[in-house]
Symmetry: C2
Subunit: 337 residues, 2 copies
Amino acid sequence: MIRFSERVPETIRFERGRLAFLDQRKLPAEVHYWQIDTLDDAIEAIRTLAVRGAPAIGIAAAYALALSVRDVPAERRTAVLHAHAERLKGSRPTAVNLAAAVDRLLAMQTHEPELLLAEAERLHAEDRSMCARIGQFGMPLIRPDANVLTHCNAGALAVSALGTATAPLYLAHRAGRKFHVWVDETRPLLQGARLTAWELATAGIDVTLICDHVPASLMAAGRIDLVIVGTDRVARNGDTANKIGTLGLAVLAQHFKVPFYVACPATTYDPDTPEGSSIIIETRGADEVLGTQAAAVNVYNPAFDVTPVNLITGFITDQGLITAPDQDRLLRTFRRQ
Amino acid sequence: MIRFSERVPETIRFERGRLAFLDQRKLPAEVHYWQIDTLDDAIEAIRTLAVRGAPAIGIAAAYALALSVRDVPAERRTAVLHAHAERLKGSRPTAVNLAAAVDRLLAMQTHEPELLLAEAERLHAEDRSMCARIGQFGMPLIRPDANVLTHCNAGALAVSALGTATAPLYLAHRAGRKFHVWVDETRPLLQGARLTAWELATAGIDVTLICDHVPASLMAAGRIDLVIVGTDRVARNGDTANKIGTLGLAVLAQHFKVPFYVACPATTYDPDTPEGSSIIIETRGADEVLGTQAAAVNVYNPAFDVTPVNLITGFITDQGLITAPDQDRLLRTFRRQ
């Protein structure tokens, strides 16, 4: 397995028995690790999005839960563990990875603190390994002198270690390959500008920030060779839900004949969702869009859009690269998990 | 000619001998008319973008110049007029309309204050008439219950009266037609969010603000029936330069089979520019993009992009509607000016 670079920012640190989360609310102005001493600290960090990204939240919760019963006497430990688990699950009720990670610890046969902590570390290691495998399968796509576009943050900050969409970039960079990454701002919450641009630049990758509607002109000028995005859910037929703006990039990529890849772990594939139209799109509040500079008008603020599989050149997964994706290939590849 | 609605915001007011500019820097938080008492006031307003948009700047300068010699004795008037004209031209040296408007007053046979002022009013009236003709030719495109997307600000605030891209909307609204307008933010300077959303909403039009990368998902859902944008320059073959983001919208419109129109006065057509690739794109500073929320990285901030004529359904001009535009049709129509 590929070792985690010192220079790629770590979302979650567990060293010498101490847990700390990189406080993403303060990025990029301040790189601050919040030391998590209590369960309340962890719940507060998850609730306020100091730590974010579904896999990262799961790992954070597992560590926090294991540590929270370290000093609890054996006879009360399981009861306390269940109570703490409920509180953690309540901190972000819709986060599936959080509940899954917590349940994984609860389901263990013995609740010895050392074993709980080892399981949290194993979860963390699995996530790193998943990222590294995505990186290895995707790395050949990053040709020397390539110009790569990514969108939003499917990076180290959202997951662990290398991220998903960013994993091929980190590995290609580590291999000494020269390339350049365009990062779009990703309005309204600016995850591209705040997080992706920062984490790639921190790792020493050549990054340029652009506004969300600049890619068309770059593609027209032949200045984008490849698009890699993450995803929140892949439907059975391959239609892919991701951060709003992804569909537009996929349409542009097809028009300008630029390969368009989706990077994701096999766990993102959901065979119970037949196709993209079955995915319900979360609409968020107007306050995210309206700043002091916007008129007081109606706002439509969808968080995601759905890219049909026919616009996707391939999926970069921890189980392999799936090009010319169709349902059979997706089912075959993802079932290996 | 169609009368200017009371409810569409006026960029430039000249009433009872007094000149005032709507201070666009304060929009939408504050609707403040800056009374222009001196030539210095006018120069300051133009220089600091309190008044902006090429045609609006030309009109503003003509009024300011005419008023600036009102109390100057006849024997010194022409000399002072020329001195003031030079100062005005220096306030935004690259604004072609400004120089043209000032030169038009200088070229008059007599420099009587009343005649200069009448010429400034005529310039203003011509601009209003141009907008109204664009509005009339474009109005049939705004079908009942249509969902129209516009980009940036080619509105009343940039021109005079009804704007260009917005003129068909204002006239359709006045005719009692029901429709809805999507306005994108237009990063980085947010002219859509600050100006277009405000001016349309002020006029009573049903407006919804969206982030710049939302249109693809709206088009995929059949929620955009028509796109209308303005333009800074139309090349001889019909390729069109406009605010960055326009090209992407045109590609999406073609993909999702949504009509894509460019609204402009015939004066925007430049037969001396053979095609889009001849247009030099202004790149602006990183500071417009980097806020406190963005990482300190490289920024590429182009102000415009070029949309090839084959992606344009038609031009809505003050000389008529040009559909299936080709060079011959463009030359025939625009030469009537």
